[in-house]
Amino acid sequence: WKKDEFRNCNQTPFCKRARSRKPGSCSLIAADVSISDGDLVAKLIAKQSSQENSENQEKPTKPLVLTISAYQDGVMRMKIDEDQSLGPRKKRFEVPDVIEPEFLNNKLWLQRLKKEKSEIGSGSISVAYLSEGYEAVIRHDPFEVFVRESGQNGKKLLSLNSNGLFDFEQLREKEENDDWEEKFRSHTDTRPYGPQSISFDVSFYEADFVYGIPEHATSLALKPTRGPGVDFSEPYRLFNLDVFEYVHDSPFGLYGSIPFMLSHGKSGGSSGFFWLNAAEMQIDVLGPGWNDEYSSVLMLPSDQKRVDTLWMSEAGVVDAFFFVGPGPKDVVRQYTSVTGAPALPQLFAVAYHQCRWNYRDEEDVHNVDAKFEEHDIPYDVLWLDIEHTDGKKYFTWDRALFPNPEEMQKKLAAKGRRMVTIVDPHIKRDESYYIHKEASDKGYYVKDATGKDFDGWCWPGSSSYLDMVNPHIRSWWAEKFSYENYVGSTPSLYIWNDMNEPSVFNGPEVTMPRDALHFGDVEHRELHNAYGYYFHMATANGLVKRGDGKDRPFVLSRAFFPGSQRYGAVWTGDNTADWEQLRVSVPMILTLGLTGIPFAGADVGGFFGNPDTELLVRWYQLGAYYPFFRAHAHHDTKRREPWLFGEQNTERIKEAIHVRYMLLPYFYTLFREANASGIPVVRPLWMEFPADEKTFSNDEAFMVGNSILVQGIYTERAKHVSVYLPGDQSWYDMKTGTAYKGGVTHKLEALEESIPSFQRAGTIIPRKDRFRRSSTQMENDPYTLVIALNSSKAAEGEVYIDDGKSFEFQQGAYIHRRFTFSKGRLASSNMASAALGGNKFASQCTVERIILLGLSPEPKTALVEPGNHKVDVERGPLVLRGGSGPSVLTIRKPNVNIADDWTITIFITSLHISSSPIPKLK
């Protein structure tokens, strides 16, 4: 990590200014509070009677315009901007194309405004309805905005400017003595519009911890960056950067930025705050007692536990969303209702991906594929990094290495496998390169401060960068992915967007200068964090267009922004092959899930460096539960395909990959849940156990859906591993079937063969236990249902099935079943939305095996209805692989169709003495 090459807060004037402001220094008051066009509006003006405060003299006196709107499902939106009617110097940038259009249709038309006396300060407050049980409130003097539970004594949930740190630098004309230029190392930022930053404090009530605001290689629960007992720390930085060899446990900004934070506390409640702003942002989490010396000024309520935060941005406007929860899942749902539902990936994309920088040529590809076959290890996608191109010109092939790319892809496709090639946003400045030719002729590049095409350095050398903020350029780009335009592409080829922060090797902080200019005269500083998002969007749209809108796109992106979840997967970038990076991958991926991006993963094995064999095996064992499961490696590293570490380790890696394939029906069901509700595939424990305090800062274990708990092993040669199993129900070891008590930390023996994973009592998990070359061949394979009974001998679960590739599920072409087990009877019922008509997708798949965990005494037979036939219940292995495993109660060959309504009733022999012989089966 080249620390010196990146700015810290002190070297970033807006951050330094904001951080040095004192609580209570905001002198704005809310005036003219009223309802207008269904919104609550007000003007923020400087307080008149404050001659004693000399700071005020320098403040611009123009009023700011504040607008509060309420949306369905507990979302409050608050905007603060300069007053356009007063002719500001420039329209400040608001990020387009992020807010879901459907969300805007859910606006509530506010009707009435209540005035109340403020409990704090002298003035009054204005109260408006927000949602069932919640109200939006403006305190006039000093100005504060908050959400509270309904009623005069309603508890505060979320507030802005309670600490009086709000500051809004309005655009102004340059004055004689102003020196607006900023220098960092050899780079000069001309800053033609001068200071324009915004900062404010946000408080989360009833909160023990706050989470979110990726991307940082740090803990899940965000540690305070200021306050008593906190060593000096940088704020959490949100600035998309290509960081070489990033370090763990750092608030430093990485590849993507999502200015969305959630809180969670003992009460079991969560709330959330999202600032839609694409400029550089810095966020402080303020430790308890940080503002003690100002308590008399602030008069904050002391009866509520609170986490204060300070948000600072270099430019843009205030466009903030408050989410009321009340549960963590509600907050995530509310957030994704604003920024969009996560796309449902194709089934293949949920399976295992094999990548390396670089699979060098067609022969290499063939050999790697052949080795997977030889070892009977499934994989779905083989990836090609930058070296496959002709001189790093994307959409081209190095024909010496890849003379027949179509044939190569077809060979893989014949086994149901896909290929991914890399396409980055830097375009080689080479007159003979058609993309460059067109882009420069049409003026499609980002411009430098002087108006010329920006010329930076990246893989191909001298490069320019497409201005993806412009919708015309995006649609031009999308056309490049058609089979005719992308020569050598086939329908089984998908795309990887790397370097889209954007990475500019010779730019300030390895990115684009802030004074570069985009479409509509927007400065790069105003939209930097969204650049990669637009590139991702344009690429994904290209793949949709390519397939006539019938094939779901798959695009992996390194940079991200709110809304990226609509376009594909992200990964945590260039990590390193060490144990700490294995550990930090979990909080990083969990954080992405909490902030709307469920389809995320870390490079299995670690990108830089050579993992020793144990680390690699552990990484596979953990990575098999990442929502995005891809092995990747730097080109200087040794080869590390699964079969290179001796038979025993090959077996372990194979087993890890098999676990993933076995659970594909479960994962896919979770991806559909994420698609429908925003709730992530992998979840912090507290999302499933919101009232269990012991889970709040646990980021070594995580939930896959609501049914599986996974505990990573993050140390070398671990003998034991401690696992906290939350809740009051039991947990079943997924390898052995052994039951463990909930609410207890168990010290278990660490096995080399696997990491601990448990099925929660009361759940039913759908599996496919047959292994194939790839997920493609599993389509018709039968299901296994694993029922883990809770203390009332009941359980439930679901499975979602569709064609795995098209968009027809949106028209109802899917199967969605609910399984419930109670009183000795398992029932499958339809969960599919009746509105869409249902039954548009058929499956011939049957259920071949039902496993019952936690049932005693043991039944001998079960009755399947309809059909009224009896099937055997006997002891069988919990997992088929790995020789003779422990035996568990198994309903043998019920062979009911997965799509049908049916029930299976078990007969406990001691209760039902059946004289009829066990029917013989064909």
Partner: protein
């Protein structure tokens, strides 16, 4: 046959047990299964023995007969997966996928291939036998020669010592005759064994202070030039120089730091290249860098060059240029394919050639003419001594000169003999394989051109990669590995951001020595293939012949559908 879907002939008797008894044990003995559970698409046996014909057990194995071709055992994951794996199509029987029976065609092709391979082996086995015989003869010759040389060395050494003694006495006796300086020079020279003095010359010649200077100069230039904003090309040149300078071994470890201090003064392009190089490991400059590194290595380690040179002298006596075994017009060279499923198609050229060293002339000390030269010397020396003894002192000037001349000649011969002895000893202690089948590799190099690189593999010595004038050492000879199927070269030039380079050469049967398919599967770890008659072993030939026989046995059945 429906009943025995997926069952291998060896297992038929095991499953026949199902007909007679109600249930039989799984092969691993863990459970029992009955007839209705056999191939019923539900896994009862953990080892998969109840489901040879379905995909129900993950550990199961499916046997397809492939009449007309070779039988195959598949992973159960391939059964009814929509992909035709057996040429008889028997793995896809669920009706969802139609698999044509291609066994006859592919069997024919396979048999043809196998036949060709056998032909190669047959010829290869003969060549190999000849090689071994030749190696045996040559080696015993060399051993005899070595013994003879050692004897001669003894005699000659005695003579030389005697001559030296005499000469020194002469000088003492002559007292004032030569100038002080001459005495000094002579004694100085004569006190040293001759080969050492030669090495000294080498050493001083190859210790170019200049080299070190030039690196330092370059470095200091960089410092000065860093502030300038030169043209792009200039800057590029500087960037490369500074990288290679840093890599020249002076300050490799601190390269990053140096560079970090510098970045502010770099031009935009230099900065871009520098940052890119963090990920690529300076890949764009790699070759230049390697070239420089190897040069500087020579500068730093002056002993290496002379060693190398003397090695080349040592092996120089061999010349296989006109060896008839490696006739390039060899008609059989089309088919040096080793793999049964052969995917060997090389577009690379490959050649072998002996080291083109300047041969030392051993004609006067070797050859069948035997020791006549030694006898002559002995006679002459005897004569001299007789004369010297006769006259005692004072010594005749012409006789003294003769002693000196005789001494020079004899000690020269002695050093030649000694160097020949050492080279022969060096050679004969190598591991040439259990049957000395790799004897002929000694002193040979095999070349293959792949794209812009020429790979050169010299067994028992080293392997290199050449690009233009730049040479990268891929490794020094280490040993044979994997029962003489692999040649290992280790400790090659250091990689910028990886391990020391190394090369594995996989050997396979071919009619002539031919290097192919050089590859770098992992960074700086190279892999190549060498076809050679040395690998055409009889056992393997027998195995292939048996395989062909068993394939031919199935032939008469002709194509028919197992379904």
């Amino acid at each position: 046959t429906e009943f025995f879907v997926g069952v291998s002939p060896e297992d038929e008797s095991y499953y026949k047990g199902l007909a007679s008894s109600t249930a039989i044990k799984c092969k691993d003995g863990s459970k029992k299964f009955n007839k209705s559970q056999f191939n019923d698409d539900f896994c009862d046996c953990p080892d998969g023995s109840d489901e040879p014909g379905t995909s129900a057990c993950p550990t199961g194995k499916f046997y397809c007969k492939n009449s007309g071709h070779a039988p195959v055992v598949l992973f159960s994951s391939r059964v009814n997966d929509g992909i035709c794996d057996c040429c008889d199509g028997s793995d896809e029987y669920d009706g969802k996928t139609k698999c044509p029976n291609t066994c006859w065609e592919s069997g024919k092709a396979a048999r043809e291939k196998l036949r060709k391979k056998i032909a190669t082996y047959e010829e290869g086995v003969t060549i190999r036998r000849q090689e071994i015989e030749k190696a045996r003869l040559t080696m015993s010759k060399e051993e005899a020669e070595l013994q003879k040389l050692k004897d001669e060395e003894n005699i000659l050494k005695g003579l030389v010592d005697k001559l030296k003694e005499t000469k020194e006495e002469e000088i003492k006796a002559k007292d004032i005759q030569p100038t002080q300086k001459d005495i000094h020079d002579n004694i100085g020279a004569e006190d040293q064994p001759p080969q050492d003095s030669a090495e000294n010359n080498h050493e001083s010649a190859s210790k170019p202070e200049l080299g070190v200077h030039s690196i330092e100069d370059r470095l200091s230039n960089d410092g000065a030039a860093g502030d300038q904003d030169g043209s792009a090309q200039n800057a590029e040149q500087l960037g490369e120089d500074s990288t290679s300078g840093g890599n020249a071994g002076l300050d490799t470890g601190n390269q990053d730091e140096n560079v970090a201090e510098d970045t502010e003064s770099l031009s935009k392009e230099e900065l871009g290249r520098l940052v890119a190089s963090r990920w690529t490991g300076g890949k764009t400059d790699e070759h230049k860098e390697e070239f420089d590194a190897s040069q500087s290595k020579d500068h730093q380690d002056p002993t290496e060059t002379p060693n190398e040179a003397s090695y080349e002298e040592d092996v120089g006596y061999i010349s296989d240029d006109d060896d008839p075994r490696y006739d390039d017009d060899d008609a059989g060279n089309e088919d040096h394919v080793d793999d049964f499923d052969g995917v060997d198609h090389y577009d690379s050229s490959s050649s072998q050639r002996p080291e083109s060293d300047d041969e030392l002339d051993f004609s006067d000390i070797t050859g069948t003419s035997g020791s006549s030269w030694l006898e002559k010397i002995q006679q002459r020396v005897k004569n001299i001594f007789q004369a010297v003894n006769f006259f005692q002192k004072p010594v005749n000037v012409s006789e003294a000169a003769q002693v000196r001349k005789e001494y020079d000649e004899s000690s020269g011969k002695l050093s030649k003999i000694q160097s020949r002895i050492s080279s022969l000893t060096q050679k004969l202690k190598q591991d040439f394989g259990p049957e000395k089948e790799f004897y002929s590799f000694y002193g040979q190099c095999f070349e293959s051109k792949q794209n812009k690189y020429v790979y050169k593999v010299c067994p028992f010595k080293q392997a290199t990669q050449e690009e233009g004038y730049s040479t990268t050492r891929l490794g020094s000879w280490e040993k044979f590995d994997e029962s003489y199927r692999v040649m290992q070269f280790l400790n090659g030039d250091k990689c910028w951001n990886g391990p020391d380079r190394s090369l594995k050469v996989r050997l396979r049967c071919g009619l002539k020595n031919e290097l192919t398919d050089v590859d770098e599967p992992s960074r700086c770890e190279y892999l190549a293939f060498l076809a050679t008659p040395a690998l055409c072993v009889e056992d393997k030939l027998k195995e292939l012949q048996e395989k062909l026989e068993s394939l031919n046995k199935d032939q008469p059945k002709g194509p028919h559908d197992e379904l």
